[in-house]
């Protein structure tokens, strides 16, 4: 591991200044569960790590009438321990509950999951289906990027030199909506998704028809994939096995996986279809309350 300096700024501006100074030889440190592993394996050679946990905006977690705001440094457990979030955003809670084990969840969070940009990031699909937005600060000001556009490839993001993810903003879900996320792993915990599926559905007031739907897929492409055609296929359709199966088949088509040590192309495509069907049903159940 290359010896790096440790800085712990208390404002966004200070953090941005350090990151800007070092370029890709500095990284923000939130939970460290990816950063320290990569630094130790010399995947990243760093001159500085910027501990963001003393910056109030980045540790803010608030839920209210205008939605959910998750600071980039907020660890998983704070998200799933919050009963209001658990009630309103169960799909996001599904995701943060399965990132690593309990120890990792004490440190790792959605901000780091997003910035690490692994195709398998379990926190990302639930954010995508909720149409969440990433708030970014940088040397030339602030900007917002849809979470679905945040990752540009494995371990690559839209963040430019000196830019820092500040928070993730999740709009308040519409009435009669529900979301769910699951992944397939060989063990029951402590694994990287072979395939993952997040679903958000909004039903009509009868609870019998889809008004809108979003489906996102993990581990079956270079970045998490928003399977628009699959989600769109449900709009205006009744909730039944056929419409769900049709959407699942479209999700399978949207998947572009590779074969590696964690699974094969065929296995991953089949899993996407199976998990999509299961998650639509789960989301519907939650939408019906």
């Amino acid at each position: 591991m290359h010896p790096f300096a440790y800085v712990a700024p208390s404002t966004v501006a200070e953090a941005v200044a350090v990151l800007d100074e070092h370029g890709d030889r500095a990284r923000p440190l939130a939970g460290g569960t990816d950063l320290l592993v990569k630094a130790r394996a010399n995947v990243w050679e760093l001159d500085a790590v910027v501990d963001i946990k003393n910056i109030p905006e980045l540790m803010n977690l608030s839920v209210g009438s205008d939605g959910l705001s998750i600071g980039a440094g907020v660890p998983c457990y704070q998200v799933y321990d919050n009963s209001e979030i658990a009630a309103e955003y169960p799909g996001i809670v599904d995701g943060v509950s399965i990132i690593g084990g309990i120890q990792v969840q004490s440190r790792a969070g959605l901000g780091g999951n997003l910035c690490n940009a692994a195709p398998s990031g379990d926190g990302i699909c639930p954010l995508i289906v909720h149409s969440a937005v990433a708030k970014i600060s940088g040397p030339s000001g602030d900007r917002e990027v849809a979470v679905e556009d945040f990752a540009t490839g494995p371990s690559r993001t839209v963040l430019g030199k000196g830019e820092l993810l500040v928070s993730i903003e999740v709009p308040k879900p519409a009435a009669n909506s529900g979301a769910a996320y699951t992944r397939f792993i060989p063990r029951n915990e402590m694994d990287i998704a072979v395939a993952g599926v997040g679903v958000f559905v909004q039903l009509d007031s009868s609870g019998q028809n889809f008004e809108s739907a979003q489906i996102a897929l993990a581990s079956v492409g270079p970045t998490p994939i928003l399977a628009s055609a699959a989600g769109d296929s449900l709009v205006g359709k009744p909730v039944n096995d056929e419409t769900i199966a049709a959407a699942a088949a479209l999700a399978k088509e949207a998947a572009t996986p590779i074969t590696d040590m964690r699974g094969t192309v065929d296995q991953r495509k089949q899993l996407v279809e199976v998990l999509t069907g299961r998650m639509i049903k789960q989301a519907v159940e939650r939408a019906r309350g």
């Binding site: 300096a5 712990a8 690593g100 120890q103």
Partner: protein, 158 residues
């Protein structure tokens, strides 16, 4: 590090109830800070990438893998390790139960399991077997098959 090394970080932290003032190399893990700087070798190294839980400690009441925390990060925090579990009155009930239930064979994972299990029981006084198994999934044991570990945690609840 002796040359071209970034400067050390001044850290004031409470470990097992005792305040320590340290100069920590900025890249040094909390695990090494405990083991190398303070001499608390009860916390074990297993994998250095957060997948075995042998280095589990608690920081401000939350269990973490100390290999994935920098020593510099615990400034102003409360760290508890396996060495802090027993009191002058005796072993923690989990420690006693691990002994009585033969919940360790080689013992290298034991400190991590004990600290993790304490983290559970401190917050949830009577978890189910399923909850215990879920909570401890971040701690690998290769000797016992976990059965006697789960029994020991259940015994400590009683």
């Amino acid at each position: 590090m002796t040359t071209n090394s970034p400067s050390k970080v001044h850290v004031t932290t409470t470990i097992n109830g005792q305040q320590h003032e340290l100069l920590v190399p900025p890249y040094m893990s909390l695990l090494d800070t405990l083991r190398e700087l303070i001499g608390l070798t009860g916390t074990k190294e297993g994998c250095l990438d957060g997948n075995c839980g042998a280095c589990t400690v608690s920081v401000d009441g939350r269990i973490v893998d100390s290999c994935l925390v920098l020593g510099a990060e615990v400034n102003g925090k409360n760290v508890n390790t396996v060495e802090g579990m027993a009191t002058p009155e005796g072993l923690h009930p989990l420690q006693q139960a691990f002994l009585e239930e033969a919940a360790l064979q080689c013992g290298i994972c034991t400190p991590g399991f004990l600290v993790a299990a304490k983290g559970l029981l401190d917050n949830e006084p009577s978890p189910s077997e399923g909850r215990i198994r879920h909570w401890l999934a971040g701690n690998l044991c290769r000797c016992t098959g976990y059965d006697k570990i789960v029994r020991a945690v259940q015994k400590a609840i009683d």
